[in-house]
Symmetry: C2
Subunit: 328 residues, 2 copies
Amino acid sequence: MADGSPELPVAFADVAAAADRLRGIAVETPLLESDALNALAGGRLLVKAEPLQRTGSFKFRGAYNALATLRPPAVVAYSSGNHAQGVALAARLLGIPATIVMPADAPKIKLEGTRALGAEVVTYERDREDREAIGAAIAERTGAVLIRPYDDPLIMAGQGTVGLELAEQAARRGCRLDAALVCCGGGGLIAGCATALRHLVPEMAVHAVEPAAYDDTARSLTAGRREANRPGARSFCDALLAPMPGELTFAVNRRLLAGGLTVSDAEVAHAMRLAFRHLKVVVEPGGAVALAAALAGRVETRGRTIGIVLSGGNVDPALFVDVLAGHR
Amino acid sequence: MADGSPELPVAFADVAAAADRLRGIAVETPLLESDALNALAGGRLLVKAEPLQRTGSFKFRGAYNALATLRPPAVVAYSSGNHAQGVALAARLLGIPATIVMPADAPKIKLEGTRALGAEVVTYERDREDREAIGAAIAERTGAVLIRPYDDPLIMAGQGTVGLELAEQAARRGCRLDAALVCCGGGGLIAGCATALRHLVPEMAVHAVEPAAYDDTARSLTAGRREANRPGARSFCDALLAPMPGELTFAVNRRLLAGGLTVSDAEVAHAMRLAFRHLKVVVEPGGAVALAAALAGRVETRGRTIGIVLSGGNVDPALFVDVLAGHR
């Protein structure tokens, strides 16, 4: 097994245990397939639709797995928005008070969604303040447990259930996956997914996909050590703007990934439009990078079966209008 | 059983046979549920997402059921767009040449989608020409079999698999359906759905939902006989503009339905926006009327479990932009 090394911070058994915890709580999201997209790709694209997950992204999986395991008296988290909503809903379901630290410029749909789930939201300025420090200070002051957005074995294991379901659903469809494309910010989703996918289909290639300006994982995989993004980098993929790979996630990813791919914001917008037209799913920018990579030919798709994770759909209507109108 | 009368043109066994034919061919679309929409409704809304069906609407089900049963040498159909694409894909899968008669002002996404599936498209002027006559003339000239969009037992049976899946998926979730809301143009979808739903859950109420200007089925159910829509009526629900209930569909619907509800175009646009925000699914106007009726309180939702069919998602980006921007 590719993930059999005991020293990795997450193993297949952890993902399987998370799947047990999430059964009947998280949605087993559908694996979508479009005749039109398959024709464009010249192969089969099996698209895991996490916008259809509770809170509109995969982040609920890891958050619930962590909170249901730890059962802390209170929780604090920092997040650009999807982890925020995931933690807020998981905490509400488990009766745990939640405080979430979010950038003041996060998409409105994410700020409002988090508040609507009953969490206390504390905002900060993305360029001037350190969200980790703010979160840690709140944790120290209130006794709440800090749930990190990606660099945590329970979070990785929970997110890995996306990959577990993808492999199982593809197998039920009689498909053998040649490769999978998964978006990458801090690397928690892909670390968990690669753990599950390469356990179940050891020979498949799992590729990280990032916005071109936030290619820290691609460069880190090449360099063999964690490299940071350039200060002041810009992308409209708000969900993927982590400063550098996580320590624990990178330990997994350097072992299990085939490498990193990048896409431009324009390629992401194109993928969002094709998801609208052919899949009928609302995908946020950060959630569409993997589909963008497939459609832009970053990997060979002809005659192959490629698993693609759409990670979330929390996009403000105004931005979606811009994308549909071709202004992005 | 509510549908046990032998004289109805479609029975539960026909729907079950269609489900067998469609297995592995049509998508078993997911039953979506949103914490936020449930909170708005004060109950549970179980949302059957047919935009995720092949060709982007439920129409593929009936078309494939009819063509796989009849296996004609060639097929002709008339349609405002979703039946067109359903017939075109079913014909292509079965190797049958298809000609489709469509209004010249059909949404571009539907015209292009039908052509992309390899069908020959013949356009006509909605206000001046009779699509049924055009379709019949082509059938006579070419020997093709005409597949009507709704007034056909095989079509009703195929569309009824939506209701069959809805009942089965709700039961697997441990839910007892109190009522179902289904959109209604010619009445084929709801006739099939009511046949399946009231066989499996005899005590539940199935309501037809129509645009306010196209309330022919609501009025016909009240009058006990088929009544037509007013000439020149307007609605942006392009999928639901049939002139009057079908003869066969109405025979089923007058027996099985609890009645008809209507919604305004503004209520439909609101439902499309909430589906975007909370379900992350692209819904076309005609596909959103049932959700609109639930959100507008046309039936009691508090403390109840309501099945809702979203019938399709083939909407032009420009119209969707208008809706998201609040211009509808």
